[in-house]
Subunit: 331 residues, 2 copies
């Protein structure tokens, strides 16, 4: 029987690219210290800051929240979680359940934003009304809602659950399209733009997908195994995931090298053009004119819903004693 390379206890994990076996406890520590090193190396969060972690009920964001909640004491930051109920039938119900159980178990405050309740429409309805593919609408809506929440909650950073495999695959896809501007967004962090956008951080940047999966299993985290019913199994990402896995198979550690090298060079890629401005309807980030969220909701629902979303989070923040006004008076 294989034994932990650290303590000699029975091993439950093998890290191929390090040729190390690990017991449960040392495995959890291995993932946590990876995340901690990423936070310190890239200064993702500083003492006294507030981090809003976006959770979906899936394995990656569950690992994200669990590791961040473990580190929040040691590194001295405040953690709040956000779950967005997208109104995607049974899938959304189950993922809300998982998120609620996770937050309860970790004792992290969780805000549940229900798209259908606040806007009167979920992703399927918005996609239909705007005649856009659901995955594209969903990505845009999530980005907007998360940013609006972070602004109203006076968060210093939004933590996203992208793991190393996600980054490697997006990177390869953007490379094949020679979309250098898309690659320029794949760093470990993006900067905040005061009052308009909160910077995003990716603490799981160096954590493999299967490492994240095993972490959530071994840490006993509640998470949803199901995939979103809209996921298209033929899509480019799925093929490229296979490609990256084949490369990793021949050269263990390749994904880690990919993301490590990318992190070092991401600033050298050309950034998207377009000015950084404020949406005239909601006041948040826009690259010119009304932001996509206000535009799409105006077309689908008759009026731009950015202000409604912001107002919802403003009230929620006040109720929780987390508001922007309260915070600035404290600091």
């Amino acid at each position: 029987m294989a034994r932990c390379s650290v303590c000699g206890a029975p091993a439950v994990a093998y890290i191929r690219y390090q040729k190390r076996y690990m017991c449960r406890d040392h495995y959890l520590e291995f993932v946590e210290s990876k995340v901690e090193r990423a936070i310190l190396r890239h200064r993702l969060v500083r003492r006294g800051q507030r981090v809003l972690a976006a959770v979906s009920g899936g394995k990656d964001s569950s690992t994200l929240l669990a590791v961040l909640s473990r580190l929040s004491g040691k590194l001295g930051f405040e953690l709040v979680a956000l779950y967005i109920h997208l109104g995607i039938y049974d899938y959304s119900e189950k993922s809300r359940e998982a998120s609620l159980r996770l937050a309860r178990q970790l004792n992290v405050p969780l805000i549940v934003f229900d798209l259908k309740e606040v806007l009167g429409a979920g992703i399927p309805e918005l996609a239909r009304a705007s005649k856009r593919p659901p995955c594209s609408v969903c990505g845009m809506v999530k980005r907007y809602v998360i940013n609006a929440a972070a602004v109203e909650l006076a968060a210093d950073a939004v933590a996203l659950g992208h793991n190393a495999d996600d980054i490697a695959v997006y990177n390869l896809k953007s490379f094949l399209n020679q979309d250098l501007e898309a690659i320029s967004k794949l760093g470990v962090r993006t900067e905040s733009i005061p009052g308009v956008a909160v910077g995003r951080i990716r603490p799981l940047y160096y954590v493999y997908e299967k490492e994240s999966f095993l972490y959530s299993l071994l840490a006993g985290l509640p998470f949803l195994h199901e995939e979103c019913p809209f996921v298209d199994r033929r899509q480019m990402e799925v093929e490229l995931k296979e490609t990256v896995n084949q490369l990793e198979d021949k050269r263990p550690g390749l994904k880690l090298q990919m993301v490590s090298k990318l992190a070092k060079r991401v600033e050298d890629y050309p950034k998207p053009g377009g000015s950084i401005g404020r949406c005239p309807s909601c006041g948040l980030l826009s690259s010119g004119g009304e932001c996509s969220f206000c535009r799409v909701t105006r077309r689908a629902l008759g009026r731009p819903m950015g202000p409604v979303v912001r107002e919802w989070f403003r009230r929620r923040a006040e109720e929780l004693g987390l508001g922007a006004s309260r915070r600035s008076s404290l600091s």
Copy 2:
């Protein structure tokens, strides 16, 4: 039996990404017109210019020379071929034979530069004496000799036989290493630096490797099927070639898209640092101090051999009535 999509004659080729069948004649025309369009689109060669085509005896440079010789009349440029005998045992003997037969068949003037004869050492000896891997020494030596020849022969461009697969694989390899400066060199052309370096052009940029292979077969070109004995089958390029082929298999035309997109974005990659200067020993391109060729030959053979190479080509050019001095007096 499949028939040519153009004329209905029996087909010998199927272009999967275009879903077209072709007879021998229309296939040759297909490849030639691909090259012609690349030349015109990227202004690789202009009327009255002189092109030095580097040939190795392999399929790609044979296709290159044959297509360029067909187009030279129509587009009004002058064509000279260069073969470098690298002193790699039997392989070099055979590839010289193939190159000589090719040039004779196409009626293109060919200059044969024999490394061992001029320097007293071939690639194996230079590699041993300089303690560098043969493939690295060989690449450096070929780049130097080709450039020296082009300068002395007053060529306006050096034509290289890199096909779309080569470009796609180099590109993927450089991407995985995040070597953005290497990617910046993978365009369809590089510019000349007067007196110091002659720009390189890649007329086969949009031609698949198997298209080049089939062209050389159907056009009845002499070429060597063997590979260089130094080729390392485990090397990264070979794996990545497989990767690119798998992607192409699922998405016919992917390689063509890769190189087409790269050609459009190559200027947006950061260029290598270091100044553009002259080697103090030979006067040709150097990124600071003595050029690699003069440095390596100094160490291996006791003196920098750049000047010897230049002098050899200067004489050869005069004998052939192709010299720089003669040309500038004509123009």
